[in-house]
């Protein structure tokens, strides 16, 4: 089953079209990595999928049903009310700079949305949150505040916060770009452990080895279009000038 489908997506900032007619889909349990140079539109595409940016063309489907689209006259349609809530419940997003709530403890960061938004019973949510923290290796941090944690720990809390809402699909927007190599390692390890649980994920990343290792499929984006798409080895070993340039295999003096 296709969790996410994006068809002919276009996105323009002022007069600059940053995404030209991109289509992609993600099946249940699949891990898709999006790689490419800075400014190629990777993050914008992710922000369109998570409705943080509004599309200027095309349609987005979650669970096979339209979640956002543009009419032939160019008018964009974003459902409101209960349907909007339903759509939002399908996905989670992990940000580059975590965006934890600094005034909430680690536990409250994770449990507030399930309790307040999803109205689930408190003790059940807390129990699940403790399990998630254990999975993240942060069992001793539940009463800590984000300012007391390292960047890697913050990002793991952010992942737990996203997972606590039981999304169908989890998006990562350069989850390790704000971290040093050591902290990057611990976050990647956690993401890998999620892969083993067959959680559907879309990961925008600059960690090439990681992307190659973890992904079922890779999209290489360049200048707002999908330049290359396929299995990791197909993309990384492709005889394609632009990706060779990007991966630094083009060692001309």
């Amino acid at each position: 089953m296709k969790i996410l489908e994006m068809n002919h997506i276009r996105k323009t900032f002022d007069d600059l079209e940053v995404i030209h007619d991109i289509s992609l889909s993600v099946k249940e349990g699949e891990i898709l990595s999006i790689i490419g140079p800075s400014g190629s539109g990777k993050s914008t595409l992710l922000r369109c999928a998570t409705m943080l940016e509004k599309i200027d063309g095309g349609e987005i489907l979650y669970m096979g049903e339209r979640a956002a689209w543009t009419e032939p006259d160019g008018r964009r349609v974003y459902p409101k009310g209960a349907r909007e809530k339903e759509i939002k419940s399908y996905f989670g997003l992990v940000f580059q700079n975590f965006n934890l709530f600094p005034h909430y403890s680690v536990m409250k960061n994770i449990t507030d949305a399930p309790i307040v938004i999803q109205k689930r019973p408190k003790d059940e949510v807390y129990k699940e949150a403790r399990e998630l923290l254990a999975k993240m290796g942060l069992s001793d941090k539940e009463d800590a505040y984000p300012c007391q944690l390292s960047g890697g720990q913050c990002q793991r809390v952010a992942i737990a916060r996203a997972l606590a809402l039981n999304p169908k699909i989890l998006f990562f927007d350069e989850p390790t770009s704000a971290l040093d190599p050591e902290l990057t390692g611990e976050v990647l390890k956690v993401i890998k452990s999620l892969a083993d649980l067959h959680i559907t994920m879309v990961i925008v990343t600059h960690e090439m080895a990681f992307a190659r290792d973890i992904s079922d499929r890779i999209i290489f984006m360049d200048k707002g279009v999908v330049a290359l798409e396929g299995k990791p080895e197909e993309v990384f070993d492709a005889d394609h000038t632009r990706i060779k340039e990007f991966l630094g295999k083009f060692n001309r003096v």
Partner: protein
């Protein structure tokens, strides 16, 4: 006049000064938040009206504003003024003035919040109202507390402007006694009163600041 009699009369004024102080905060703090929403509104007309209001409140003396609120209804509508309206005029005048200042302080705090906080809340499914009151506002309070303390301390001293409407608060009474008895002592008592009052305010606000220091 015996000192104890003087103190007794002055203490009646102290209670009234305190009344102006508390009621002004009760009305102007929430009103200021509403005004700041209007100031940040995408509706250009509303935004312009609020800008004009803030500009007027900040650009003219509070004493003059008090006189306008008090005497305005008489000159404009021939309404009978005096009696309890004197106190109402004082609270309305102070609240309108302080709300303008608080609105700009709220705005500074709200606009300093990183957009990522809104985006995270949005993704997690918080509604706009939930996001504001659960995520944004608590952090804004911490950010604006020093600026609010400044205003609150100014308010303590500004309550003395009520003498312009002859309302019997601390400063009005002190002036009356000083004139009637040709003595300087009521002013000394008044000075001590305002100073101690502000000391208490400063210590109180510092305590709140410390309490909010559990996060950065």
């Amino acid at each position: 006049m015996r000192f104890s009699v003087m103190l007794e009369q002055l203490s009646g004024g102290m209670v009234k000064s305190l009344g102006i102080f508390v009621l002004t905060l009760v009305f102007s703090l929430p009103l200021g938040l509403l005004v700041s929403f209007g100031r940040m509104s995408k509706n250009k007309i509303l935004q312009t009206i609020i800008k004009g209001y803030i500009s007027l409140m900040r650009g003219t003396p509070l004493m003059l504003q008090l006189l306008v609120v008090y005497f305005g209804p008489y000159y404009l509508f021939g309404m009978r003024i005096g009696g309890s309206y004197r106190f109402i005029a004082i609270i309305v005048g102070f609240s309108l003035n302080y709300a303008a200042y608080f609105a700009e302080i709220y705005r500074s705090g709200i606009e300093s919040m990183p957009v990522g906080q809104y985006e995270a809340a949005n993704i997690l499914g918080y509604s706009k109202t939930q996001c504001f009151f659960r995520i944004i506002f608590p952090q804004v309070v911490k950010r604006i507390l020093p600026a609010v303390t400044n205003e609150v301390i100014t308010l303590v001293k500004d309550t003395s402007l009520s003498f312009s409407l002859a309302y019997a608060e601390m400063f009005t009474i002190a002036k009356q006694i000083a004139a009637a008895e040709t003595t300087f002592i009521p002013f000394v008592v008044a000075a001590v009163f305002y100073f101690v009052f502000n000391l208490v305010v400063a210590v109180g606000m510092e305590t709140i600041e410390k309490k909010l220091n559990y996060y950065q």
